[in-house]
């Protein structure tokens, strides 16, 4: 089963860049990674029918501690990540993904995974907080586990 890893975020906003940084490590290891940034619609042009999609992103949570790695899959992604804030742009990544899935049968049938790292600082700056930096090896490990056929 082919996997596509979607790295989301903005690395100019500290912990919001965690998805991109983890994605680059995975790309160096030879995984199929696309840097989405804050525009989920980029996926459409770079999607080649992979059966498994793994999204890596920063999340804000009052319930979990900074640096915690949250894993969601399938429908649970849309149920739990409903309340997007400061979302990019008009639709937000989750709603954008829904639209793309409605337009592409292959995407609709793909296995979906979401790995979120709870952010500590989402403000101007290019460094990750210590807690989020430390989470990257766990993210990489989890992706490798999911992507291993």
């Amino acid at each position: 089963m082919e996997s596509l890893i979607l790295a989301l975020g903005n690395e100019l906003m500290k912990d919001d860049g965690v998805g991109l940084k983890a994605g680059r490590i995975l790309a160096q290891k030879g995984y199929n990674v696309i840097e989405i940034g804050t525009d989920i619609f980029r996926l459409q042009r770079h999607y080649n029918g992979e059966e498994r999609l793994i999204i890596i992103d920063a999340i804000l949570s009052e319930e979990f501690r900074p640096g915690e790695v949250i894993y969601l899959s399938g429908e649970e992604i849309f149920e739990k990540l409903k309340a997007e804030i400061r979302s990019a742009h008009f639709m937000g990544a989750v709603d954008g993904l829904k639209l793309l899935m409605a337009l592409d049968e292959r995407l609709k049938n793909a296995e979906l995974h979401f790995i979120g790292v709870v952010a500590k600082e989402v403000e101007l700056g290019m460094e990750l907080s210590e807690e989020v930096e430390k989470a990257i090896p766990r993210v990489v490990e989890l992706v490798e586990k999911l992507a291993g056929n």
């Binding site: 989301l8 975020g9 903005n10 690395e11 100019l12 906003m13 919001d16 840097e35 989405i36 940034g37 804050t38 525009d39 619609f41 980029r42 459409q44 042009r45 770079h46 992103d57 920063a58 999340i59 804000l60 949570s61 319930e63 979990f64 949250i70 739990k80 990540l81 309340a83 997007e84 804030i85 400061r86 979302s87 990019a88 742009h89 008009f90 639709m91 937000g92 990544a93 989750v94 709603d95 829904k98 639209l99 409605a102 337009l103 979120g116 709870v118 952010a119 989402v122 101007l124 700056g125 290019m126």
Partner: protein, 426 residues
């Protein structure tokens, strides 16, 4: 009695912003656009960085306008070090920038504006009945993205565009592929013009005092790069003087400064380009301009939507012509060596949403000063005026109707309020 009507997060604009309308018994008391605007703070990140490193940061300000930020910053940097790119390199930059323009206009028109007019809350819910329109949006967006992908290498951050030219160029076959797909996209752009010609431009915001500002295209053809700014009152000024004529002021209710020209708000964007530069259109867009001139009104911000539709046709044809020019000169050397010198450079370009201004000062190969004003920042003051006009006409109506019309007014400007953050909440 005051009744505040608040839209906390303007749905379907790029970023986060809110509208606050305070009503009193005898009408509208106050209108505020509460804006969090990011780019200003990014300037600070680049001070002291090596020029090439800083040029890798600017396009990250916005995923949607990364080409605009990158190419404007590169031009400012080249001017700072005293370098002028060859004509064929400039043509290639125009093509990349057009990719950004097509992608941005298609998304704005179909996914942000159209749902309001058709009575849907978002594009997803339109899909059953208006699948063709959503598919056109994605197809147009994709050709824009493909142009940027092929020429700027990485689709989001444009790392292939560098001082002196490009890291590498697409193959001749890739240019031919782009040309073929642009030709296929043209009927969709014409359909967009027809569709948007039918949408109402609300008279409530008609404003005879509207002043429009746009870059005067350098080569006498409707476009993006230029050395002067044209104002619809007849005044022109060199881009280097923008800080004299575009005066920014801090306003209490917004993190973003508001911009004024001769003490008054002004507009930038597609309609501002049409108002100032329509005589430089050619091809099918020129014919469509003649046919629909009455809809391209200087006094109504809703005309910006239709102007973007017309620009889709224009920029697709223009990209085809620029690709033909490029292929006629093939092979092209991608880059010239640039000698680093100290200096200050200013570039004003036409981003999808209007004038984007960059000043970069280089000292010892590092950025010593940077100033960025985005089109949305330039439009904030006039946007607020027009939301107020809309609110004054509808303050007795259902608050939901007022909210929708106020949001539609803001959306007509296609604001990119802050592209900086997108985290999801669990």
């Amino acid at each position: 009695m005051y009744i505040p009507i608040t839209v906390d997060h303007i749905a379907r604009v790029e970023g986060k912003g809110g509208i606050e309308i305070v009503m009193s018994d005898d009408g509208v008391k106050e209108v505020k656009l509460n804006i969090i605007e990011g780019p200003r703070f990014f300037e600070a990140i680049t001070i002291g960085k090596k020029l090439e490193e800083a040029l890798a940061v600017y396009p990250r300000i916005c995923s949607f306008c990364s080409a605009a930020h990158k190419l404007t910053a590169v031009e400012a940097a080249e001017k700072a070090v005293g370098f002028t790119p060859r004509e064929e390199i400039q043509d290639l930059r125009d093509i990349v920038y057009i990719g950004d323009m097509i992608e941005s206009h298609a998304l704005h028109l179909y996914l942000l504006v159209l749902p309001d007019y058709l009575g849907y809350s978002n594009p997803l819910s339109m899909l059953d009945r208006y699948r063709k329109e959503i598919e056109y949006a994605m197809a147009l967006k994709n050709i824009g993205a493909k142009i940027m992908d092929y020429l700027a290498s990485r689709p989001i951050h444009q790392e292939n565009a560098v001082i002196g030219g490009f890291g590498k160029l697409p193959t001749k076959a890739q240019f031919e592929e782009l040309k073929r797909e642009l030709k296929e996209a043209l009927p969709m752009a014409e359909y967009t013009v027809e569709l948007f010609s039918k949408l109402e431009q609300y008279k409530e915001v008609e404003d005879k005092e509207m002043v429009h500002m746009a870059v005067k295209p350098r080569n006498g053809v409707y476009g993006i790069f230029g050395d002067y700014v044209k104002v619809s009152d007849g005044f022109e000024f060199p881009v280097e003087d923008y800080q004299k004529h575009i005066v920014e002021r801090v306003v209490e209710h917004s993190f973003a400064k508001h911009s004024f020209y001769r003490g008054k708000p002004f507009m930038v964007g597609a309609i501002s380009r049409i108002v100032n530069n329509a005589h430089l259109l050619y091809g099918r867009a020129k014919e469509l301009y003649a046919q629909y001139k009455d809809l391209l009104r200087y006094d109504n911000c809703f005309a910006n939507n239709f102007a973007q539709a017309l620009e889709l046709v224009y920029f697709i044809e223009r990209a085809i012509d620029l690709i033909d020019d490029t292929l006629a000169k093939w092979p092209i050397k991608p880059r010239d060596e640039v000698e680093m010198k100290d200096g200050r450079g200013v570039s004003l370009t036409e981003a999808p949403r209007g004038i984007l201004a960059y000043t970069i000062e280089v000292r010892d190969g590092k950025v010593a000063y940077a100033d960025i004003i985005t089109p949305t920042a330039m439009n904030l003051a006039i946007m607020e005026r027009h939301v107020r006009m809309m609110a004054e006409k509808h303050y007795n109506d259902d608050p939901e109707k007022l909210k929708l019309l106020s949001e539609m007014t803001v959306r007509a400007y296609d604001p990119c309020i802050s592209c900086s953050v997108h985290v999801v909440k669990l």
